[in-house]
Symmetry: C2
Amino acid sequence: MSATAALQIALRPQTVCRGAGAPRRDELGALDRLGTVASLRREQPLFHEADPAEFYFKVVTGAIRSCKLLADGRRHVGEFFMPGDFIGLDAETNYMFTAEAVTDATVVRYSRRRVDALAWQEPGIGRSLLKIACHRLSSAQQQMVLLSRKTAEERIASFILGLADRNGATDRISLPMTRTDIGDHLGLTMETVSRALTQLKKDGVIELTSSHELVILDRDMLADLADAA
Amino acid sequence: MSATAALQIALRPQTVCRGAGAPRRDELGALDRLGTVASLRREQPLFHEADPAEFYFKVVTGAIRSCKLLADGRRHVGEFFMPGDFIGLDAETNYMFTAEAVTDATVVRYSRRRVDALAWQEPGIGRSLLKIACHRLSSAQQQMVLLSRKTAEERIASFILGLADRNGATDRISLPMTRTDIGDHLGLTMETVSRALTQLKKDGVIELTSSHELVILDRDMLADLADAA
DNA sequence: CGCGCGCTTGACTAACTTCAAAGATGGTGG
DNA sequence: CCACCATCTTTGAAGTTAGTCAAGCGCGCG
């Protein structure tokens, strides 16, 4: 616990009295000195579902996906984690999903024990974590509407817009994941994903510059298709 | 802020130094003196999506559902809140869904401003909120697997087991919501819900004692159907 | 250059939805 | 207390969307 106390002291100047309105990225920047960097090859697992949750992670480069499997092998991809995204918050004591690298990736690894101890003593840290959790919860609720009620084309349109929002202002979107990954994320098959993308291309809404990159040609049309829920 | 300080003092003996392993119900019991009780008639809204989020709520009696609508009226029911459940945590500044009474209900209403101020100063409160948020996130992830990959019968089986887990040890399950509510929660139509329930009855897995109550006859079979994801 | 994996496309199928109608349920007023 | 009516639920038949199965294409890597 003395180590924790030392960390608390070291971090206090940066974490106390922060406003509550800042974006979620980098609000935990003060934790960086607690983290160690790790590299992953494409398809390499970061952790498995049900493993004891020893670490939080933050993506630095590349992309990570979270997966859950049913007994017969049906797969669901819960989320694609991009640079800046925080992983592992939802774990109580064990991870709730498997995390695997979509592409070669680097992550920062934080001891949960230490971060949690810090959160216990520093309301600023705790509130940042809560804020991340609430934001993830909102996203999950949006995704449930998508999975529950949207058509294949609407799902793809929503997915592309979601990527666009995270990619910054550009209309050139990178799709590091496979069609199967996208399908497993949207509750569709690879084939249906492919057909929907082709249809959006035919309709002049997007351009497929390669199988892993597209350009948004008509964002308004895309938003209409996605249905501003 | 002096009011907050007074509250903090009043609550401190009950909120500081709590262990982290307790169940989520009642860990916020210390907040009860901050809350006021409100009653709702069946179908009455508690708040609407996009309203400014002034309050947290906790269900005391009855059931509340959260709804989101697409532009053309398609509906998704995110969650059924039962007695003890906490509502509104995911709201950043505005509610992310509409909340309506499924049955006549009573809730306790807490000022978000006050609770948040308290959470800022009392790590114990903040951690309880974080814990609730993480638990909800886990549930949301489970629900996304269901919506993404499970068949109609699997969805119904999972739903019944979920209710059973919350209802305590009994195998007699109350279904206060309509078939349409269940369908909108599981990404199915009313008719499909009805057919799946009938099928489970024919298979001897459940008994339908009335249209709003059922009894689990074979919990193992139900768990197999739900697919231990 | 060729090989392998992932993507696209086509034809067919299955699961769920839609449309329709009849059967329960429960709440209300006579 | 009972009958009626609105609403919810069940069931049937036809339609639609997305899934499955299968074949061919193309990009990227060795």
